[in-house]
């Protein structure tokens, strides 16, 4: 479970694949079906963003522990055009693609931790985590 699961994202089939792997990992990590769905939905939106803006990239999935909490970590990386204005990109309804502008803000609402690192012209990395309490 320490290992990172790497899912390439370059087509709509990969979007489905990425969210299914995420759901499986969440199940293995002990998340209930509600949280599994939430994690899968967030991965779907993030993977879709990679396709839309960068054409290709990858999603790394892993499980981590922090004190009495266990978490699923989703890292989405691409070498696309990057995001000029990260603050606006996570606002509802803001889109430069003609989409609904719900992808990033929606994924942020679904997950507990959400960070974007982006360098224009070099790419974007979105790191998001969902936590659950470990009962001793």
């Amino acid at each position: 479970m320490v290992d990172e699961l790497l899912v390439p994202v370059a087509s709509d089939v990969d979007v489905v694949h990425a969210r299914q792997r995420g759901r499986e990992l969440a199940a293995v990590a002990g998340f209930g079906s509600g949280d599994q769905t939430v994690i899968a939905a967030a991965i779907s939106e993030i993977a879709r963003n990679i396709l839309m803006y960068a054409k290709r990239g990858e999603i790394a999935l892993s499980v981590t522990t922090n004190g009495d909490r266990q978490g699923v970590v989703v890292v989405a990386r691409d070498q696309g055009p990057g995001i000029k204005d990260v603050t606006r990109a996570v606002q509802d309804g803001f889109s430069t693609s003609g989409g609904l502008g719900l992808g990033l803000p929606g994924a942020r609402r679904l997950m507990d931790d959400f960070e974007i690192a982006s360098v224009p012209g070099q790419g974007t990395t979105v790191t998001m985590k969902k936590w659950r309490r470990l009962h001793a």
Binding site: V15, G34, L110
Partner: protein
Amino acid sequence: MEVPILKQGQYLIASIQSALTDADLSQLREALVERVGRFRSRGVIVDVTALDVMDSFAVRTLRDIAHMARLRGAETVIVGIQPEVAFAMVQLGLTLKGVATALDLEEGLAFLDKQAQGRIAGKRIQGSIDHGR
């Protein structure tokens, strides 16, 4: 994977069996809009019980199906949205505004039957007004 579409009387029933890619969803949209014309259908049911995730593209495509079918004279009802899927949809800010939904296939059929009755009743009223002239 192609979604099977059953014709039942005046209705079309699309029963999604497994996870769908964007291409599958677009294909379903084209197939339904075409068949509404071919079979002169008055109602469309899309059963999403088997979908374990609905993201922004899936929701937008379902909305498009409903609006396009309505432009072709058919009412659409989406049935079988699972509770976890509904929760994630709301968190994502995704809505099916203007699209009828029902708990399951049975409720969906009942909804379409009621809509059809409403149409017949509407015609009768229209007819009696014409007679009065």
